[in-house]
Structure formats: C-alpha cells, structure tokens
Amino acid sequence: MKYILVLILILVSSTLHAKLKVVTTSPDLSWLVKQVGGDRVKVDSLLDGSEDPHFVDAMPNWIAKASKADVFCLVGLELEVGWAPKILQRSSNKNIQVGNKGYCNVGKFVTALEIPKEKIDRSMGDVHSSGNPHYHLSPEQFKNAAKGVFEILVNNDAKGFSVYKKNLDATIKTINSIKQKVATILKSKENLKLMSYHKEFSYFIDDFNLNYYADIEEVPGVPPSAGRIARIALEAKSQNVDLVLGANSNPKKILEKFREISGVSYKQIPISIRKKGKPSNYEELLVGVAKAIVESK
C-alpha cells in the first residue's frame, strides 16, 4: 500500500511539474525560449541552423515533433511560409494552429525593417510583404521577440508568470550586455564599408549603425545574373567597399566571382545559432558576426 501511494505521489508530482513543450522553427528562437522559459519549458528546434530557412521542405519528422508540442514558435514575417503551414496542418495539433494559444508567431512582436511601401508582386523576387524576417541579428528586436515569447509562455502556463518575468528581465540584461560587447568589438574598426549577398544582415547593420553600400542580389532570392555581378562588383571597387558578408548558405561561386572582379574580399559566416557546434548561443553568434567584420583586413 505504501509503495502504491509513493508511486501515485511520483506520478501526480510529475504531472504537476510537466514542462511546457515548445517547438521552434529556428535554433535562435529556441535559445530565446530557453532563456525566458528556463526550467519550466522543454524546447526543441526543427532547423539545426545550417539550412537556408527560406528553402526547406516540410520534413515529416518535424510534423511528428509539432504534433506533441504545447507551443509552436516561428520566426514569422513569411520566412517559413513555404513549409511551416504544412507542418502545422499535418501535425493535427489543434493547440498550435494559427489563432490558438499555442501558436507563437514571434515576428508579430518585432518592428520589421524593409516593409515594402509599394504593391508587391513576384517580379520583385522573394519580397516579404511584412518586412525583413532576419530580425534575430538585431539585439533590439530580439528583446522585443523575448517579450513576445514571455507573453505566449504566460498564456500557456500562467502559473509560471513570476519565473518567466524574472527570466525575461535576465534575458533582456543578457542581450543588452551582448550588444555592448559587440559594439565594443565593432568600435575597434569603425567606418568600414560593407555589402552583403542577401538582406540577412540588415538588422545588424541598422542596430550598430554600420556603413552599408548594397546587396549583391538584384532581386531578393534570385541568383544575380553575370551582368549584375560585374556591374555591382565594379561599383563596389570604385566605392572602396571593405567587405562582403554572406551567410554560409549563400552561393560561394557567385561570391567568388564578385571577389575576382571587385578585389573585395567576402566572408561566409553562420547567421544562426547551431543546434550542434558553434555558434551555440546568442553571444557567440553576434560576436562572430562582429569579429568577421573587424578582422576583414
């Protein structure tokens, strides 16, 4: 009888302290949810940080993960529009469907850059009508994202309010300190003129007030033509551009061709936290970008 009671107590206590299961699309969001959620959440991300999140398939194993989630967080701003709706649909998990309390569109909480002012169509390439979705490289916007995550976690686990609030405050402090560290690194070499392949670094450039010239891409999401590469490379040369930033998933051949013509070096760097390997947290990610810039010459 005693053993049965102990067993019941163990079972009841494990149910009472069941962690909130959160699935995120990106490892960056996963890091953020871990910071705000602490021990009250169990987090897993679908992407491992090495992919180009614009172009992945709705992987069936991700459907299996989403089916068990209490909360599903996505970057939003149409970054995952090609695959996340299918994951949600096939998961048949009512709680995480759009509009329900487990659906966590973090993009809704940020102030997006590059929101098109004119009417958009597909001739303009992969333009996101709600703005640039790569906001995680902005400490300021990532703090807004943290506040959004806090709101969603409280909606799903009101008992954890005080823990989440304490963690949110700590997360904001952590992000502020990371921002300070990155700013100090960038100060060591000011006024560098930068370019990037795609608009992945817009928020970083904006937050740290860096000197930006142009993108190599002419149409977002579309590989530039040989003519465009030649034109923009010659422009970069005449404008004394110091460095081109590229994500690891950007096409190396195009960056190489650009370097040949312009003589401007490029660096391909991780723009997302990795599930395994480096960068393993937000500090490593942003410090990595900053170091890539200042160590350019």
Binding site: A58, K86, Q89, P251
Partner: protein, 354 residues
Amino acid sequence: MLKKIVLTFTLLIPGLAFSFDGSGLQISLAGDMVYDTGLNSGSSAEDKLAMRGAEIMFYTPVDHNFDGVLSAAAHDENGETVFELHELYLSSNKLIPRGRVKAGQFFLGVGRLNQIHQHDWPFIRAPKVHETFFDSEGVFDAGIEFGYLLPTDSYWDLSFGLTSGHRYGHAHTAGSKPSAPTHYVRLETFKELSASTDGLKIGFNYLGRTDEQKNSMSLGGIDLVAKWRDGKRLTYLLQSEAWYRSVKDINGDENQQVGLYVFNQFGLSDSLLIGARLDGFKDLSKRNSITDKKINNVSYAISPELTWKSSEFATFRAGFSHSFTKEEGKTIEEDTRFELQLVFILGAHPAHNF
C-alpha cells in the same frame, strides 16, 4: 447604361475584396503545356503543343474547425478542352487529436504521384505503371479519408479511405454502383538522413474495389522519395514506386500485372536539374489467344530530362523518352519522342509536402 455597369462594378469590387480579406481565401492557378514530337515511325506523339492542364484551386479555412478546397481543371482531350472538377472537399485537422479527416471528392491518398497535382510532378509524363493503374493523371473519387499520426517518436502516419467506387480512373460517365466500393489504406514513415533537410519517406499502400460485374481489383504498392538538399539547391532526388495489381473476375480468372519506375534527379545549380527515369512493366497473365500459353512480355522506358526552374513558380523541362514492349524476345512496340513542358503558377500556392 455603361455608367450603371461601371457604378455597379465600382461598388462590387471593394465588397468582394473585403470578403476575401476577411475569409483568407487563397486562389492558385496552374498552367501546364506540353509539346511532343515523335522521333520514330511507331511513336504516338501528337506533334503539337497541347494545353495539357489549366487548374484553378481555391482553399481557405471555412470556420474554426474546417478547411475547404475546390480545384477544377481544363484538359486537352483529343483536341477538345474538357473542364472537370478534380477536388471539392471539407477537411479538418482540429477535431481529433493527431487525426485528419476529409469528406468530398479528392485524389485518393495512395502512392506518391496520385497525391501530387500533375503540374508539380518532377517529370513530364506518367510512368507506364501509373498510367495503367491510376490513369495518366491520377484517380479521384468522392468519399471520406481519415489519417492518423501515430504517437511515436519517429514519424508514422496511417490513413485509410472509402470512396464510392462508381468509377475508377479517368472517366466522364457517372459509372455504376460497385459491388464493393473503393477502399484503401496507407502507412508512411520517414527517416532523417545525414543533415536535417535530407530524408527518406516510404509509403506502403493497399487499394481494393469490386465493380458491378464482380471484377475484384487489388492493388498493393510501395513508394519512396528521398531528398538531399544544400541550401536552396536540391542536390539529389530519388523517387520510386512499385505496384502489383490483381483483377479477379466472377469465374475466378485472375489477371496480374506488376510495374515500377525509378527517377533520379541531380541539382546542377539552384535552378538547373538533370534527371532520368527508368520504367518497367510486366503483364504476368498475358496469354496467347490460340495456344493459351503464357507470353513472356516486358515493357521498358528510359526518359532523361533537363529542368530549368526560373523560380518555384515557373518551370521549363525538356526530355527524351524511349519506350518499347517486347514479347517472346521480339520488340512489338517502340516509341521515341522529344518533349517540352512549361509549367507556371499564378497566385498563391499551398506549402508542399516532403
């Protein structure tokens, strides 16, 4: 009069836009054009550019529980444009935890190609096994389908369906009441490969139906698709289906056929892909009508192709196809043709399955 018409439209259009905004209605249109030309005398190529399909699809949540889909397509059938309803169904993934249900008319949830609209196939024409067992495009019917994601750590999805079975395959008739309606079951699983976006999906399928004349058809098959991706580039695609069909008539006589295709595609760049498909088909029951001896027969085809994707929404494809049928070692049919395909998508397009 003209003023009245203009005024009516002026009043209607904002109202229409408002109703679209509030409902989330998505509209997708797909155009699929194919040109083929025969390269040998036995080719049945039509030597013309045919508007193979123009599909229009509407989809949206109907309310907080249900989603609705309507798709209809205009096809070129022997020079005549035939407009037909493909899908009209109500579905829900919110009523039963881990479960999906749909009711109405839809492409049956078996195999790989049968579940993908033709303009989204990675090659121009259906393999012989698909054309023989599921018709050149696919089998759709009216009924109900239920799917359930098993509560396991790895991905296992079980679905089954029951449809009227009044007709099977492509027909423009009402059909007739079958002795046993079309029924099917599918179990699919998935294995993640080296990287997070590489994987292999395998499906196991069974489909049965007994028509009014008591011809009982059983279909069993395996389909697989494996993809390797590097950033935007699909580096390698392997897609294959193998099917066996048995049809028993009222006297117990049985016709058996077996077939498969294997398609390999390599991404040369983000937008350029090269691939080749091998088809095989065998009629296991074919007999000589005079001697009643079994005829050793086999059909093969090889179809290399080059695909250029300007974007996800515009695809150009060029390919050769060489197919032949042999009986008792002698070639009795041979068809060599050159084909071109142009596919484009207007408007929205639903997210793709793996």
